[in-house]
């Protein structure tokens, strides 16, 4: 099915999220939509999927103009969408999830499980979407859950499949698997619209590429006619450094020492499993791993936010096992939490207050229990410049800032204390290229100043760019510590749980 979008415009108040966007996806084509967060990709897809209505413009399927009242309407017309966050019921089986809302029934409204299973098996075989139809979704790895989502769209007879940032949660190997599926879908005559901000993937999988910036289409191209650098320039609007430049690390003595550390989650399951790791002054240890393998919990245990069930945390010899978050941060641990909007910031409060969330009761910001508001304001304005936070005033609520600037507020606050250890979890998730550059530079600066830095990231590019050593986590354990010269494939295998020694044997 051929999909054409012409002149799609959608504004939210003064913000024009999509501004006259033209996009054509031919039948059987893999079309990549590339753009930074906030470029308008998701808005465009939501318009296409009937979640929002365009202020202007037209959608045509096989040349015929269509108008979708709601997502159900779009599904009936052959549009399928796999969201970035899966829409699955964890306690249901794969089959139940796939047919939910679209159940084949026998007489008297009984669910026809046999037919459902047969349909699913046929589709799985046809496109190499390998899943067990009887498994419970909650027991499946993320990659398999994604295949369930794709099957959901296919069983509803989707001819145009939209994938929104599908690789964010996958290991490199799982990503390759997904690409194979996408190619077989295209061969069957389905059109695939692949939304991403990762340049490598675009070049690997796309037939054609459309780049968006600030709500506008800035160019159409093909993988053979372009390069990573050119795509990055189109996406950002200026030439960017794709690799962070940094000097050789000059590590000193160990500062952060984790010994045999174990942590349990709320359900009593062990999420960090006897981890021992030392981070030296002046080095960055990158913690690689697919999301949900204990990196978050490990970072929280170090910063006092999660109880440690056994083992110890020491900072330059000082015992910080099960210290309170305040003790940890006053001891010199800076913490850039994984979810800045939940753990990092109070969105409704002004920037200036968020900048002193940790030291609001200390001199010079307060004296005898009374806050020095003038001092807080003055300091806030100064930090806007110092940390390149793009805001007209430090009095504005943090919620009014873009993701990149919000993260800069967190970075500004955490690096304004004397830092001996910096713990950063997914420090650039969801940020634009400019902000990523900035955050990376700041992290390297802290290293060069002599801090021991631990960066947890599920982006392999980031891990390779920042890490002086790379520790790979899988199911709560560190499966190996490798140098940054290690190949992506090997790290990918380790992220999938293959032990270092075994991974080394792979080509």
């Amino acid at each position: 099915m051929k999909l054409e979008l012409t002149g799609i415009t959608k504004a939210f108040g003064p913000l024009v999220a999509c501004d006259g966007v033209d996009l054509t996806v031919e039948e059987g084509e893999i079309h990549c939509l590339l753009g930074e967060n906030g470029a308008g990709k998701t808005t465009l897809m939501n318009v296409l999927f009937g979640l929002w209505h365009a202020d202007a413009g037209e959608i045509r399927l096989d040349g015929k103009p269509v108008r979708f009242a709601d997502p159900g309407d779009a599904v009936r017309r052959g549009i399928g969408m796999v969201h970035q966050h899966f829409m699955l019921v964890p306690v249901f089986s794969v089959t139940e999830n796939i047919v939910l809302g679209f159940e084949p029934v026998r007489r008297f409204g009984f669910l026809d499980r046999a037919k459902a299973r047969a349909d699913i098996s046929a589709l799985s075989r046809e496109f190499g979407l390998d899943v067990d139809p009887d498994a419970l979704v909650e027991n499946l790895p993320v990659g398999a859950q994604q295949r369930v989502e794709i099957l959901k769209a296919l069983i509803r007879d989707a001819h145009v499949l939209i994938l929104d940032e599908p690789t964010a949660v996958l290991t490199p190997q799982e990503t390759d698997g997904l690409f194979k599926v996408i190619r077989s879908l295209a061969r069957s005559g389905r059109s695939v619209l692949f939304i991403t901000h990762k340049l490598k993937e675009v070049l690997a999988v796309a037939d054609r590429i459309t780049v968006m910036r600030l709500g506008k289409v800035v160019g159409h191209t093909t993988p053979t006619g372009t390069s990573e650098a050119e795509l990055a320039t189109m996406m950002v609007g200026r030439s960017v450094e794709l690799v962070v430049s940094k000097q050789e690390a000059n590590p000193g003595p160990p500062v952060l020492e984790l010994e045999d550390l174990s942590v349990q989650d709320a359900r009593g399951l062990t999420v960090v499993d006897h981890v021992s790791l030392a981070v030296r002054s002046g080095e960055i240890v990158a913690l690689a791993g697919v999301q949900g393998n204990g990196q978050t919990e490990l970072a929280e245990a170090i910063t006092g936010l999660r109880p440690i069930t056994s083992g110890s945390v020491r900072l330059a010899g000082q015992d910080l096992t099960n210290a309170t978050p305040r003790q940890a941060l006053r001891a010199g641990i800076a913490n850039i939490p994984e979810d800045r909007q939940v753990d990092g910031l109070v969105l409704s409060m002004p920037i200036r207050d968020n900048l002193v969330l940790d030291v609001y009761d200390q001199e010079p910001y307060a004296r005898f229990g009374a806050r020095d508001l003038a001092r807080v304001r003055e300091d806030g304005e100064r930090k806007l410049t110092e940390f390149d936070i793009r805001a007209t005033s430090a009095d504005l609520p943090v919620a009014t800032l873009s993701g990149g600037n919000q993260q800069k507020v967190v970075v500004a606050r955490e690096l304004s204390r004397p830092v001996r250890v910096l713990v950063a979890s997914q420090p650039t998730r969801g940020l634009d290229v400019g902000s990523i550059e900035y955050v990376h530079h700041r992290i390297i600066e802290e290293r060069d100043r002599g801090a021991a830095v631990l960066v947890a990231s599920s982006e392999l590019d980031e891990v390779l760019a920042l890490g002086d050593r790379i520790a790979v986590m899988y199911r709560g354990r560190i499966v190996g510590v490798v140098p940054p010269t290690t190949s992506r494939e090997r790290i990918g295998l380790m992220m999938a749980g293959v032990e270092m020694a075994v991974a080394e044997e792979q080509p």
């Binding site: 305040r326 939940v342 910031l345 109070v346 609001y360 307060a366 806050r371």
Partner: protein
């Protein structure tokens, strides 16, 4: 908003910035900005319009429940002027009585001015309004402190009782000169409320029990505890079969501010001081900042090193202490003894005025004055016209309803949306 609906908000909104009267490029004049401000759904405008709409609903109820006006409207076809006349005179009489009963009566003031006597009568309405407002300000500030920090203290009733009970025991139980006795009574009131607030606080911090449930349940516990204690010999008034407490002596009473015949008393000063203190606390103190952060986003507070559990306990204890002072203020200010179900109305109305005042102490003071005026004026209206006091409850309810739903006010009056952060939905954070 369709384009055919001309309205104040719309008309102003249609003029782009700086292009109103005057030429482009000239900064907008102050009155132009004031006009824009009035067409915007900000706090002050929404609250004002809620009051206007409440009075409007009240007016409709008066007309449709009054036999004289109904009769006149029944004959509207033959005598339209009469129907309007009767309507206006009925409404004028009702709302006039509401005003005279709560603020001042022009005739009484005129009489006092011309004869030089009767000043007491002229000031009685406003004095009564202030007397009713006093416990509302105290309890409302306490509740607002909790709301502003994400803690829903619905236990006003129980805390008022606890405060009044503690103040009563100290009031009749000890004998001291007023200079020592009265401060002790005040402190006892605060302490009683603080205990009643500490219980849900510690339960929430330790076990995660939701304060809404716990405070509501504590209301019953204190209600029946009071009933029980009123039958025990130390508390019950000797020689009485009724369940009322002993009367507190004059050394335990809040002195009147303007002579013996006007009931307005020191409690009002205490209430205003508490409101001012709470305002400073929330804006300037480090502890208040911590409370606000924990209220807005406990995860971020914890990550930045704050102790959310300690904050929860402290907020509920302080909130309870202020509500407890409300129970003390009526006991030591006007009643001097307590009886079954004491002060419960103030405990509940505290929630309402906190909402009306948008959880800000200054707003609570204004909201309390409005509510008190409607109540005292309503009693006078009931006495002088045939309109029942319940009408003012309806007006109060409509006002609160609209204040809680700013979007509805915006629709009714077709206002523009206020800028970011100017209006906060009250119910935010209820799930906490």
């Amino acid at each position: 908003m369709s384009t055919t609906d001309a309205s104040l908000g719309d008309a102003v909104a249609r003029q782009p910035h700086g292009q109103g009267p005057g030429t482009a490029g000239v900064p907008p004049s102050w009155w132009w900005r004031a006009l824009r401000w009035m067409g915007e759904a900000n706090l002050a405008v929404v609250t004002f319009l809620a009051v206007v709409f409440g009075l409007f609903v009240g007016a409709i109820l008066i007309v449709v429940t009054n036999s004289a006006t109904l009769h006149a409207w029944g004959n509207f076809g033959s005598a339209p002027g009469h129907a309007l006349n009767v309507t206006f005179s009925t409404l004028g009489g009702a709302y006039g009585a509401l005003f005279c009963g709560s603020i001042f009566s022009p005739s009484a003031v005129g009489h006092a001015v011309s004869t030089g006597s009767g000043w007491t009568a002229a000031f009685t309405p406003i004095s009564e309004t202030l007397v009713s407002a006093t416990p509302l300000i105290l309890a409302g500030t306490g509740v607002a402190l909790g709301f502003a920090t994400g803690v829903f203290n619905i236990g006003g009733q129980g805390q008022v009782i606890a405060g009044a009970l503690a103040a009563t025991y100290v009031g009749f139980g000890v004998h001291l000169p007023i200079g020592i006795h009265l401060p002790l009574v005040v402190l006892a009131g605060a302490a009683g409320g603080a205990v009643a607030g500490f219980i849900p606080g510690i339960l929430k911090a330790r076990t995660g029990a939701h304060e809404v449930i716990v405070t509501i349940m504590l209301n019953y516990i204190f209600l029946y505890l009071l009933d029980y204690l009123l039958t025990t010999s130390p508390l019950q008034q000797p020689g009485q079969s009724n369940a009322i407490s002993q009367t507190v002596p004059t050394t335990a009473r809040l002195p009147h501010l303007f002579g013996s015949s006007l009931r307005v008393n020191l409690g009002l000063i205490i209430a205003l001081a508490v409101a001012a203190g709470a305002s400073w606390f929330m804006r300037r103190s480090t502890l208040g900042f911590e409370f606000k952060v924990i209220g807005a986003n406990p995860s971020a507070g914890k990550t930045a090193g704050m102790d959310a559990r300690r904050a929860t306990v402290l907020v509920l204890t302080i909130s309870g202490a202020l509500v407890g002072l409300a129970g003390m203020s009526t006991l030591a200010g006007t009643d001097f003894f307590i009886a079954s179900g004491y002060g419960g109305g103030n405990g509940f109305n505290a929630i309402t005025v906190a909402l009306l005042g948008r959880n800000r102490p200054i707003g609570v003071v204004l909201g309390s004055l409005l509510f008190a005026a409607l109540s005292t004026g309503g009693r006078y209206m009931q006495a002088t016209t045939s309109i029942p006091l319940d009408l003012t409850s309806v007006i109060q309810a409509v006002i609160v309803f609209l204040v809680a739903t700013p979007a509805l006010v915006r629709e009714i009056f077709r206002l523009r949306e206020a800028g970011a952060g100017k209006i906060l939905l009250f119910t935010k954070g209820w799930g906490g």
